[in-house]
Each structure stands twice: as structure tokens, then as C-alpha cells.
Amino acid sequence: MSRAGKITRRTLLVGSIAIAGGVAFGVWKVRQPVANPLSPPDGVALNPFLIINGDGVTLVSGRAEMGQGAQTTLAAMLAEELDLDWDSVRVIHGPAADAYYNAALLEAGLPLAEYGMRDWQHSVAGAMGQLGKLFGLQITGGSTATRDGYARLRHAGASAREALKAAAAERLGTTPSALRTEGGAVVTADGRRIPYGDLAEAAAQRTPPQVEPRDPSQWKLLGRSLPRPDMQAKATGTAIYGVDIRLPGMKFASPRMSPRLGGTMVSFDPAAAMALPGVEQVLDLGDGVAVVATNSWAAMRGAEAVEIEWGPAPYPPTTEAIFERIEAAFDGRRNSRMRNDGNAARTLDNAAQVIEAEYRLPFLAHSTMEPMNATALYTDDALELWSPNQTPMVQARAAASAVGLRAEQVTVHTPFLGGGFGRRLEADFSVLAARVAREMPGTPVQVVWSREEDMTHDFYRPGIIARMRGAVANGQAQAFEARIAGPSVMHQAGRRMMGLPLAGPDKGHVEGAFDQPYRIPNYRVEGYLADLDIPVGFWRSVGNSHNGFVHECFIDEMALAAGRDPLEFRLDLIRPESAVAYRVLEAVGEMSGWGAPKEPGTGRGVAFTWSFGTPVAEVVEVRDENGRIRITRAWIACDMGRALDPSIVQAQMESGLIYGLSAAVMGEITFADGEVQERNFPDYDALRMHNTPVIETRILENQPRLGGAGEPSTPPSMPALANALYDLTGTRARELPLNRHFDFIL
């Protein structure tokens, strides 16, 4: 890691960060920062994370909940220090009512868990400014990932606790040290209880005491699997997602934008749509239409019924032509060489035997369970948005500029997200809602996309071509060279989200390949950027999702060429670089019984990726069942330093693995005539209960730093499966999805 680190410190552009699966920002009202942004109509806010009133304590989450359990762990950090009974903990999603505005929340450094910034990333001067600009100001204050949120929230809780104790001491004429806290109350030596609600007013008058948070050995909540506060609502159909917003007089609308992404609309005829019952208007948006109706069904049917002539796509029209463009990037200028240990070129030129391979990986859609949507109410000087999103500041800015308002005039509410995976970092759905709402001032409108519109208008995981060369001698790796070509997510997102052309080496494009803890004497990783105007974005684990695959499949190819066991080969390469990573790999070997003979008719594959601050090793087992292949079992070992909630970590590990395996087995976005061909789940499916392997997870805690949980299990799942298929069949998959070459039981 150290050598990779040095290289990165010199680079100007920090690539994709750990946002896709993990981070989110809460309800957001854009206003000037103030000391404490909370001003509850009833009760007292001791700090930006905490509201105390007669009903008890409400914890304010700065992060959206999209399934990853962020709000639970965040609340536990506060509750731990405040000695709250977990059952009594209420979490609101940032200020939930207009009275609770919190523009300063993140600017003041709210819990920003971009999982996984590593130490050397933290030290990149200026990089945080880039990220801040890119994802909204909110990120500036909290650029230190989970550790920062972790320290900050526990400090906030501890400080509030001591303020409450000091207020009680003053009232009772005693000293704070004679008091303790328990179950949401200050308790005297003789057992008298004063609930926090009775002390909050007085506590808020005091200067917040500076106290150290408790030592982990004293924890009662953190480090344990807690019941999630959102679970009951989600099991009873009462959780409110973006599509569930219902406002008085609300209309429903559905968009139809060019299927040739970014292309123009030449003409349209609304007659057929207007004839449908429930359809009220067909709005000309210039680059597409939106059909306004009394219900979502009429709106979606209407959108489909409008006859439209579209202009050409601003990119090559077919998958083949697109990949030709990607291939051409190898002939252009190199964008990055972020790892360059020893002399890979010379070693390879002189090697007796060179292993060469080319990998091709497809574009992928996010395919969140809840289709894109947002609800908007436009009045002449304000816009109110209900938007299931991961970046409220970006939403506010983008929506404001689309309708000629200032960001300060926009209020963003963030309901539950029906999946994020990086898709909801973008603001296109809020922008569309704002544009439709502007056409009908004073009337709230929910703009909900059909699944087809959602799947064909994504910001896709880029298609990639990787050219690999390797040399082995005496059972050891001598040289490893990866050259990776594809469109740059970061450069595109830079233009889109900050309106500035980013240039310079794109780390995100090569992450998962250049930053792995392998010691290979001659080790080179280069990035080449393809000039392509297909919208690409942050897909769960971002660059690691493709580079983890090529790196780990090729390591397997090298192990084989060296005549070595793939796990042993990796252990040897990782041991001198990282003891933490070594133990993760060792653990997965032990869990899967790697050393023991395989059952007949089965194959096993192993892979390792360190991403988002968390090293993860996985083994996948496949079985031949009468000529068809079943993915039977999977083992995951991970180390994020401290598992703050083991049940949530386990759920995220399984989730990330299934997300990766789904893509590896059947995920592929293709183009014809400039249009995405996969339109709905029958064309772009995912694993389901019956074809998901049985998964076992082990969480290690050897790492001194906190790492992320939402994304790092995705990258190694795909190569582990491909390596298992090779083990079973002798066929090496260098193209995804795997169902092109293997007959799975699906």
C-alpha cells in the first residue's frame, strides 16, 4: 500500500469515493449556516444531532436511509453516550419538518460516512475541496469518513450528557460527578430521576462541555446488533418512500425523454395520449415530454402513447461501435499510471513466458427497486422537493438552476430511498420534477418514471476493456501489468455536478487495480479514457466493480501459470504488504475449507479486493447439476476495524455480494440504434431467493481504522465466481455477463 500511496499523494484528482453504496445526506433546507441549525417548535436542540422535548429524545440523522442501516448506527453513536434506552430511540431523517432547517448540518461537519477514505486519501491536499465542490458543500466539513462521524457524534452525545448533568447538579445543589445518567434521565445517588426533557432548557444555556467519548470497553450499544428503528415501518407498509408522497391536490406525471441519451426531440404528437382517461396535459419539455394525469397509470400510459420523433444519439449507435471507441482509447494519451513498481515493461519483454489476456466488461444499470421519482411544488419564489436522493445539496442546486431559482429558494425533503446504489447521487429526477412543477405553479406534482424509462435512462457503470500481461517464474509473480480503458465517471460527473471540466489522472478509473496490497516486484497499472458521451455514473463500488474483476481473474490466471494454488499464491503476495489483508484471506480459506478436498462436481474460486477502507476476501462454490450450474455457497471475510453493528454489517456484506453476483451472471446493458435495449426486469434481472447461494460471513477486527460496509463486498464476488467456474469447467471467462458462456440454473 505504501508505494501506491506515495503515487496518489501527487495526483490531482481523487476519483470516485465511497459514496455509491454508503453515503447519503439527510433532509435539507438550504439557508445560511448558523451555529445550531435545529430550532424545533417545541423542545430544545442541544446540538445539531439532538432534539429533546416532552416526549423524549429525537436523534437527527444527517444521512438518508437507503437500506444500509446508516440511521441505526448513527443513532447508536449518540444513544451510547447519552445512556438512552434503545427502545425509546427515535430517529428523524434530518429535520423532518420545515421548522427544522439544517443547512449548516453538513457544513458544520455532520456525520459524513463516506465509507472508506484511506489515510493517504485524507492527506491529499486539496482533494477534499474537489469532492466538496462535486457533491455539494456538505462534504467539505466531514471529509474524514466514518471515523470523523464516529468521533463527532460520540463527542456530541457525550457533551450533551455532561451538559444535562451540569444542569441537574445546579438545580440540586450538587456536583455533576455525584450524578449519573441512565434510561434518558439524570439519576442522583439516592435514585431520584430527572428526565432529560426537564433539563434540556437549562442544559442548552450552558457552553457545551468538552468531554471524551467513552472507551469502547464500556459500550452497551455500539458493537452490538441492534433492532433497526426503521424495521417496523418497513414490515408494515408504513414507511414513506419518494413514490408514497401524497399531497393535497397532487397530480401525477410521467416523463418520456429521448431513448438516445442526450439526444434531441424533433417533433411530437400528443393526440393519442390526450385521448386516454385521466390524462390532463402533455408538457413539451424541449428534450422530451411529460404527461400529467390524475394517477400514475394514466401518466405512464400517456407517456407511452405520445408519438415522438427523436434525433440521433450523440455516441456510436451500437454496442460494437461503442466498444470500438473504448478500444481506440488505448491508442490515445495515457490518463494515469498510478502504480509503477519496478520495471514491468522490461521484465515482460525479457520473460520466457508472458501470460496475456483481454477482458471486456459491459455497461450496467443500477436498477434500484424503487424507480426514479420526485415530487415538486413550485410557487413563483420557491420550490419544495420531496426527493429520494443521496445528495440534497446537489439536488437543490440542480433543480434551482433548471427553473430559474436560487438554491436558497429550494427545500429538499428526503424520504426513505427504495435503493440507491449510487443512482440517487444524480439529480436528474429532481430536475425533471422541478421542470414539470414549474409548468403548474401552486400544484404539487409527483413525477414517477416507468421501469422502462428508469432502466433506459440511467447513469451506467461504464463498459471496460482491460489488457493484461503477466510473468511468473519459480512459482512466483514477477510482473503484472494492467491497462484499463473506458469512459471516465469522474470527468463526466465533474461536468454534470459542478459544471467544471475535471482533468488529470482519474483514480476512480483504476481503483481496485492499482491500490491492492499485493507485493509484485514489477507492478504497473495504467488508465486510458475513452471519449464517449454515454451517461456513466457511480455504480455500487464504482471502479472497483470492474477493476476488482480483472485484477483478481488475472491473478488467478497467473497462479495457474505458476502452477500454484490460487489462494496460496495470493497469500504469498499479500503477506509482505498487509497483515490485515492476509488475515482476511486466511480466514476465508479456513471458513470455506479450502485446504480440504472438494466435493465431486464442484468448483471453487477465491478473490480479494480492498475497497472503501475494507479488505474483503470471498470464496464462491459452484456445482454441476446435470450439465447446468448452480451457485451453491459463498463465504465472506472482511475487516472494517470495528463492526459497529454486526447484524447490519453482515446484511451489507451479503447484499453487496448478491448485487455483484447478479451483475456477473446476467447484467448487461446493450445499445442498438443508439437506444438501450434492456427495458425491464425480464431483460435485466438479478438473483432471486432460489438461485442465491447460502452465504456465511465472518467479521474480523484487526484493522486499526474504520472501513465501509455498503460496497466492499461487491468487487470480489464477481471474480470469485468466474474463478470458480474455471475451476469447475476449465473455461476462463474474460467477458461478462457469465450467462453468455455458462448455463446457469436460474
Binding site: 408494515t236 397509470w297 447484499s655 447460502v694
Partner: protein
């Protein structure tokens, strides 16, 4: 047209071909039942019609053949049904968007087969997609609920 949902009868003046899903969500404001695909491919919209699991996105209002039960009718946060309580015990949901459909499908499965095997659960639940990958906990919660319901 009369429609009975969760023991309440509504008289509705709507197009006969309007899918039940949208009647529930946009007319009756019962938003617990979710829209995922509109083409019977994800199960997010699953409800019970006369006790039978149905994809509400595929059933025209005029074709609803009996009383409808949605996730809201199965149980409430105050009084969750056995299945919902098992879902909470097993901490099944991640984003939660698919879960109403999963639970209603599981309700139909257990009504027919009070002690399903793993394979029977897999088969019964194959039409319900979960992009968050909560399958192992869904399976565990169904087994748990089944045994609770058998004892009750």
C-alpha cells in the same frame, strides 16, 4: 364499481381496465403496496385477493375477484401479524421497498403450506425480487413465522 380492501368497501368510478395497483396507491392512498415493474416481473405489488397472492399491477379493477388484503390490512405497527413480527425479529428489511410484496407472497405461501421446506419457500418466493439481497433473512423469517403460526 365496488371494491373491498382490508374489510372496507369503496364505491369507485374508475376505468374498468385500471390496474388494482394504481387504484390502491393513487386513489385509495394505500401506498404500502409498491410499484416495481408493471409487468409481473418483480412481485413488489403483491396483494391477496380472496386469500390468493396476486400481482396487483396485472389485475384490472373489473377483474378483482374477491376482497383484497394489502400489507396495511395484514397487521399494523401496533399489532403486527405473525409474519410481520417475524420480519422485525429477523431484521429482514434493508431499503425495504420490496418487503410488502415479499410478506404478502409469504402470507399466501403459509396459508397453503403451513410448514414449507427451504425448497418450497424458494419456489414460492421466486417471483419476488429484492435488489438489496435480503433473501436469507426472508427465508429465516418465513420459517420462524410458520412455526409461530402452527403453535398459535
Amino acid at each position: 364499481m365496488d371494491l373491498t380492501v382490508n374489510d372496507q368497501t369503496h364505491t369507485l368510478d374508475l376505468p374498468a381496465d385500471m390496474p388494482l395497483l394504481w387504484v390502491l396507491r393513487d386513489v385509495l392512498n394505500l401506498t404500502g403496496t409498491k410499484f416495481g415493474c408493471g409487468v409481473a416481473a418483480c412481485g413488489a405489488c403483491t396483494v391477496l385477493i380472496d386469500g390468493e397472492a396476486a400481482r396487483a399491477c396485472q389485475v384490472a379493477l373489473a377483474d378483482v375477484w374477491g376482497p383484497v388484503t394489502t400489507i396495511e390490512g395484514l397487521g399494523t405497527p401496533e399489532a403486527p401479524a405473525a409474519l410481520q413480527a417475524a420480519w422485525i425479529r429477523h431484521q429482514v428489511a434493508q431499503c425495504g421497498y420490496c418487503q410488502a410484496g415479499q410478506i404478502m407472497q409469504a402470507a399466501a405461501l403459509l396459508a397453503e403450506n403451513p410448514a414449507p421446506s427451504d425448497a418450497e419457500i424458494d419456489e414460492g418466493m421466486a417471483g419476488n425480487l429484492c435488489r438489496c439481497g435480503t433473501y436469507s433473512r426472508i427465508r429465516a423469517a418465513i420459517h420462524d413465522a410458520a412455526s409461530q403460526m402452527r403453535e398459535a
